[in-house]
C-alpha cells in the first residue's frame, strides 16, 4: 500500500472528495440513511455501476457506513459516519458559492 502525501489540507480534502459524485452522495445522505434505490434517485444522473463504485470507495475512506439488516427481504442502508458528516459540513460554503454563482458557472464555455 502506497502512503499518500499531500501538499496541504486542501490537497488532502480534494483527494478524498475526488470528484462530483462523492460530494453529491454526501449531500444526499446528510439528513437520513438511505437504501441503494433511494440514494440513486436522490443523486440524479448517476449510473448504478458508478454509485456502487463510489459507495465502496466511501466505505473504504470511512465516509459512509453500510448497515445490513438481516430481515426478509434483507435491507441495506447507507449513512454518513461522523467523518463523512464533518466533510459534508466543510463542503457547505462551496455549495453555497455554487448556488450564488450558478448563472455565471452555467455560462462558462465548455469544450
Amino acid at each position: 500500500m502506497k502512503k499518500r502525501t499531500y501538499n496541504c489540507g486542501l490537497d488532502a480534502a480534494v483527494d478524498v472528495v475526488g470528484g462530483k459524485w462523492k460530494a453529491l452522495i454526501l449531500w444526499a445522505l446528510h439528513h437520513e440513511p438511505l437504501r441503494f434505490g433511494e440514494l440513486r434517485r436522490s443523486v440524479s444522473g448517476i449510473s448504478e455501476k458508478m454509485l456502487i463504485q463510489q459507495l465502496r470507495e466511501m466505505e473504504t475512506s470511512g465516509l459512509v457506513h453500510r448497515e445490513v439488516y438481516h430481515q426478509v427481504p434483507p435491507k441495506v442502508e447507507y449513512s454518513l459516519t461522523d467523518f463523512g458528516r464533518s466533510l459534508n459540513t466543510a463542503l457547505i460554503p462551496l455549495g453555497e458559492w455554487g448556488e450564488e454563482h450558478m448563472a455565471t458557472i452555467e455560462a462558462i464555455p465548455r469544450d
Copy 2:
C-alpha cells in the same frame, strides 16, 4: 456550445474546481499575483504542461486574470479575479477539514 446544467450549487462548484490542481492554484494565488515560474514552484508536483492547461481553463472560467506587461523582457503575471477569490474563500473550510484530518486521510488504503 453545450449549456451546463447542475443538480445543485455543490455540483456546479465542484465542476468549476474540477480536481486538485485548480484548488491548489487558487490557493497559491491567494496572497499575490505570481509569474508562471513562481506559480509552478508554489504548486509542488505540477508539470509545466498541466499548469499551462489549468491556467487556460481558469482564464476561460474567469477565475484567473493573465496580465502581460509589455516590457523587455516581457513579464506575465497571473492573479485571482474577484470570482476566483470568492471561490478560494469558499474552499477554506474544506482545506481546514483536510488539515484537521490529515492523518486519517493519509491512512486510507489506496489501490
